[in-house]
């Protein structure tokens, strides 16, 4: 079934066009990777899908689970099952990780018209998830991401993913700031705990992560559009020749 369909997506920020005529289709149970040089618009795509307010003049069509995604508020997109793991998760002073997680969880429950959990019930739930990720419970008492190491922040993102059970996980440069061992732990954590039928849209310019996540589809993005789609073989081609041959077609 179609999970996400992007048709002719265009977007600009401060009158500079960043996405041009972008098309992409993701079905259930797929792992897509978008690779591209710096400034090709990869991260912009992930932010637009999640509803970041900084982008305007968005044209085209995006359907998520058969609904018009671009019309939804960011929180609605989250409730519908879109999860963006941030490249640099934000630090928020004075807000405990525990409170944040519980509020986020209960908002989703409210949306699904399912019962909200009180602090004690929620403690039980979150404890199980922490165990799964081999995280210590003191994580919960700390302020949200404040003073967390790079690896801790990313793990906290995965914890949130587990909690919110999304259908589509967008991983925006999840590898940045992590060493190879940490990347492995994070990626395995994601794969193992992904909901049934859920898909991943991975954004990276670091091919090594692909050995762990094994994408089903590979896209190359240059200058705001997807110029080539293929499978893992495309990566080999890319590793040999770089982005150059792909970009020349379109300039």
């Amino acid at each position: 079934m179609n999970l996400l369909t992007i048709k002719n997506l265009e977007a600009s920020i401060d009158n500079v066009q960043i996405l041009k005529n972008l098309n992409l289709k993701i079905e259930n149970n797929e792992i897509h990777v978008i690779m591209g040089p710096n400034g090709s618009g990869k991260s912009t795509l992930s932010k637009i899908l999640a509803g970041h307010p900084a982008y305007s003049n968005i044209q085209g069509n995006v359907e998520f689970k058969g609904k018009n995604l671009l019309e939804m508020d960011p929180e609605k997109r989250s409730h519908e099952g879109l999860f963006l793991a941030f490249q640099y998760p934000l630090e928020i002073t004075g807000v405990s990780n525990y409170d944040f997680l519980r509020i986020a969880y209960n908002e989703k429950q409210k949306f699904k018209k399912e019962p909200e959990l009180d602090p004690l019930e929620f403690m039980e739930l979150i404890q199980k998830l922490l165990n799964k990720l081999k995280m210590k419970s003191e994580f919960l008492n700390r302020d949200l991401n404040e003073g967390f190491s790079g690896g801790e922040k990313k793990r906290n993102e995965i914890l949130q993913m587990l909690l919110l059970k999304p259908n589509l996980v967008i991983l925006d440069e999840i590898d940045s700031g992590l060493d190879i061992d940490a990347i492995k732990i994070i990626c395995e954590g994601i794969k193992k705990n992904l909901e049934k039928d859920a898909s991943i849209l991975l954004i990276t310019h670091y091919p090594r992560i692909l050995d762990i996540l094994e994408p089903t589809h590979v896209h190359i993005m240059i200058n705001g559009r997807i110029v080539k789609t293929g499978n893992l073989e495309l990566i080999e081609e890319l590793e040999k020749k770089g982005y150059e041959p792909f970009s020349s077609n379109f300039i």
């Binding site: 307010p53 982008y55 929180e75 989250s78 941030f86 002073t93 807000v95 949130q160």
Partner: protein
């Protein structure tokens, strides 16, 4: 700015512009004086309250001083001229006789307090708090009096204290804030109608938290209340104060005085949640709040701690202060001031170090939204003999939107060279990225803003007593959003 951005700030505006829930008026029969102030009015108040001679003299002296004083202009506030003769200085709900029990209180007034979430019925009250409820000019009821009396604690309205404990009142009234201290203090000293009185005897830890709830109901009357708290040697007390008022187009005046006195090893913790009506979104109406609050740490090792959450009033002019006289005395000031629309707040503290090895700590958080003005003004004075004293101040401002205004005016006077004074200040804006992060996790805009702001205020909220922390959170919630999770 592009459209989506505009939409976000529009949402933020909606979120912080929730209307005032306490704006209703209670329709009761009242007995009020004619408007205006003169010597006869002052005398009349005193007569009406059957006060002893010393108090009448106190009032008249204060009135005399007030006549010669001018309205203070130094604050960062724009105030339209107040005509002090348009104000009613005394207004009380009409009662047939003296009240001896709650059943005799006008049910309309009881309903008012119920509506405000303040139950005066001891049976119904679960939390460990004794309450003195002040409605316009008089105290309506004080709960748990008997339970307190067993431990020797006196907690009653100041009018009762004047009649029943005149010696205590005579000894301490006006000793911390003199009748000529400032323009509003003088006005209050001349005309104060009621307020709370609290006396904690030696070696007693007050078994209940004490609380006064102030309600201004009448349209033209000012509220001039006066609170006096005395903590004898080795005693301690937690005191809470809450305030609301109905919604009127006209400005109402509130000029209060609070005096605290702490003897050796005594500890007074005074917490305020101030939610007077703040005017509408155009700045029409609202309370003018001019308050003088001061604590005297008289004894050695004494401690006075002020915590305030200021969300209401059209104008706030308030500097809860500590005079640290006793050796090793300590004072604290924790403040959250939130202003919105055209509200103006000029608030802060004074820490006057006189005794040796005295300590003070100031944590102030100002949040300005809309077109409001929010200033911190604080004085730290380390006297010549206050050797080895310490102060730490932290003043943070948080701006929401593009037309709000935050200022910090720290004054430091250090007269000896072996004391340590630290001052930190920070201004930040609501970050779009933080907001987006929370939204992406399914948290609504209003909840996200409220989370960010309560995170910003956490240092202060943790200082509030439990019952009040919840109330403060609710109050910010009222100002900032619909409901908090």
């Amino acid at each position: 700015m592009d459209d989506l951005k505009k939409e976000t700030s529009f949402e933020i505006t909606q979120v912080i512009n929730q209307s005032y829930k306490y704006g209703f008026v209670t329709d009761i029969e009242k007995e009020a004086f004619p408007t205006g102030i003169n010597e006869d009015i002052v005398k009349l108040i005193s007569t009406k309250k059957k006060e002893p001679q010393f108090l009448l003299e106190f009032r008249l002296k204060a009135y005399d001083k007030w006549k010669k004083m001018t309205f203070p202009e130094w604050a960062n506030l724009t105030i339209n001229k107040i005509n002090f003769n348009d104000i009613i200085y005394y207004s009380i709900p009409k009662q047939k006789k003296t009240l001896s029990s709650l059943e005799e209180v006008d049910p309309e007034i009881l309903k008012t307090f119920e509506k405000l979430g303040i139950s005066l019925d001891e049976q119904k009250k679960l939390s460990n708090v004794a309450i003195d409820a002040v409605f316009d000019s008089v105290s309506i009821a004080t709960t748990f009096k008997e339970k307190l009396a067993k431990s020797g604690v006196i907690f009653c309205s100041i009018s009762e204290a004047i009649l029943h404990y005149p010696d205590l009142v005579k000894k301490y009234l006006g000793t911390v804030v003199s009748s000529g201290d400032n323009f509003f203090a003088a006005l209050n000293s001349a005309t104060f109608s009621d307020g709370s009185f609290c006396y904690i005897p030696k070696n007693v830890v007050c078994p209940l938290e004490l609380s006064t709830y102030f309600r201004i109901n009448d349209k033209e009357s000012g509220q001039f209340e006066r609170t006096l708290i005395i903590a004898e040697k080795n005693s301690s007390v937690n005191y809470l104060e809450g305030c609301t008022a109905p919604q009127f187009d006209a400005n109402q005046l509130h000029a209060a005085i609070v005096e605290l006195i702490a003897f050796d090893n005594a500890k007074i913790k005074y917490s305020t949640v101030q939610n007077w009506y703040s005017g509408d979104e155009k700045g029409v109406g609202g309370i003018f709040n001019f308050v003088t609050k001061r604590g005297l740490c008289l004894g050695k090792n004494s401690n006075i701690s002020w915590t305030q959450v200021e969300t209401g009033s059209s104008i706030t002019w308030k500097y809860p202060s500590c005079i640290l006289l006793g050796k090793k005395a300590s004072g604290e000031f924790y403040s959250v001031a939130l202003t919105n629309h055209y509200q103006q707040a000029d608030t802060g503290t004074k820490m006057i170090h006189i005794g040796e090895a005295t300590k003070s700590k100031i944590i102030s958080k100002g949040i300005s939204c809309g077109s409001s003005k929010n200033s911190y003004r604080g004085l730290v004075k380390i006297g010549l003999n206050a050797l080895n004293s310490r102060n730490f101040s932290q003043c943070d401002s948080f701006l929401v939107g593009n037309s709000s205004n935050a200022c910090t005016y720290p004054y430091l006077e250090i007269l000896n060279s072996n004391s340590i004074v630290e001052h930190e200040a920070k201004v930040s804006k609501i970050s779009e990225e933080q907001l987006f992060y929370l939204l992406q996790r399914g948290i609504s805009t209003e909840q996200a803003i409220s989370l960010l702001i309560s995170g910003f205020c956490k240092d202060v909220f943790t200082m509030l007593p439990m019952e009040f922390a919840a109330e403060a959170d609710k109050l910010l919630a009222l100002k900032l959003e619909g409901t908090v999770g």
